[in-house]
Symmetry: C2
Subunit: 191 residues, 2 copies
DNA sequence: TTCACTAACTAACAGTTGTTAGTTAAAATT
DNA sequence: AATTTTAACTAACAACTGTTAGTTAGTGAA
């Protein structure tokens, strides 16, 4: 059943995500989405159930990709520093693959309805895993002894904002970016 | 004319900023704001001109405080590292003083209308000044030689997200936070 | 050919939106 | 005491919201 070519439903989700990034979920109307696709708002409902369903499709699928990525990293048996580098790469990869979706994930999750508790659960678990890696790194002497909360906040907010920044650099090389970010986030900028 | 006690207009702006942080500008109605204050929506218009004016009041005044802070730092004659520490302190100070306003500044600026170009101008100049400090630091050998764009992105997005994080820690000491952030952002977490 | 399916359409709905007009009771000023 | 100002109110508006119902032209299968 699933085709390589984009289904109409996937197109709606893609177009909606782009509009959500520009104006936010609440400010985008079904008529906006339809107009961008060159059809009428009512026609959208041949493919999707509701506006809410579009948001859900964007956010939950992305959140689950982060969870899957973290699961793999957790079980990799690498050093703490290497795990952190893998997390950075995970964010660069997923963000560059779905810039518009990342905007909704960051800014529109509070407009989820039934799915909100599930999203919150995924996010909490991700952050717990992240903090765990940091605490382990501190315990092993791999990392400096600073509050892991502040550490995680600092790194994670940078990674969560990548979607704002990647599209501005058309010529960007993602491996370079991952490398630069690792250096800055792990070793700082002070010479 | 100006009193120490909060005017009704200031109360509207404060209440609105809190609601804007929770749901975003577009999802908050004038009736929401009024209800929170225990009055009717129409009564708000005795004190403010429009919903748009509330957003403008929140965002522009904050943006101008950042501009003023940067101007002072720029002319301080301090070393690059000390200027960066001063920027970190500026963000911690302004963010903790106005957590709700910072949310609008970050997430709702695109809903500014006439004032949008002015906001964009302030933000661009701030970022230019920031990058300038970094480039100077690299040139002088104070900072490692990594693309200043990536450096600025990394530090600035962390600082811009402080509003998300400060309120979670009731017991937080702002000087501690500034100190921890400086260490992490400037020297990294790698031992 | 006949039939069911797909994906578009028009029309309309009930509720919500920001905002205005006009009114009123209390407080402040003259 | 008379007057003006303040800050609330009710009622209403025109525009917009997400969504539904019913229709229709084109497509592929029987």
């Amino acid at each position: 059943m699933k085709n390589k070519i984009e289904s109409r439903k996937e197109e709606i989700i893609r177009v909606a995500a782009k509009l959500f990034k520009e104006k936010g979920y609440s400010a985008v109307t079904m008529r906006d989405i339809a107009k961008t696709m060159g059809i009428k708002a009512a026609s959208l409902y041949n493919h999707i159930n509701s506006k809410q369903d579009i948001l859900k499709a964007i956010i939950i699928s992305l959140a689950e990709k982060f969870t899957a990525g973290m699961l793999e990293i957790k079980g990799s048996g690498e050093s703490c520093i290497n795990k952190l580098k893998a997390i950075i790469k995970l964010h660069v990869t997923l963000s560059s693959q779905n810039i518009y979706g990342m905007a909704s994930l960051n800014n529109d999750w509070m407009h989820l309805e039934e799915q909100m508790p599930y999203y919150i659960k995924l996010r909490s678990e991700y952050e717990d895993d992240f903090k765990n890696i940091l605490e382990h790194g501190i315990g092993e002497g791999e990392l400096i002894n600073v509050k892991p909360d502040v550490m995680m906040f600092s790194i994670l907010t940078t990674l969560r904002s990548l979607y704002l920044w990647i599209p501005k650099k058309e010529d960007i090389d993602l491996n370079d970016l991952t490398e630069n970010l690792s250096q800055i986030l792990l070793d700082g900028i002070n010479k």
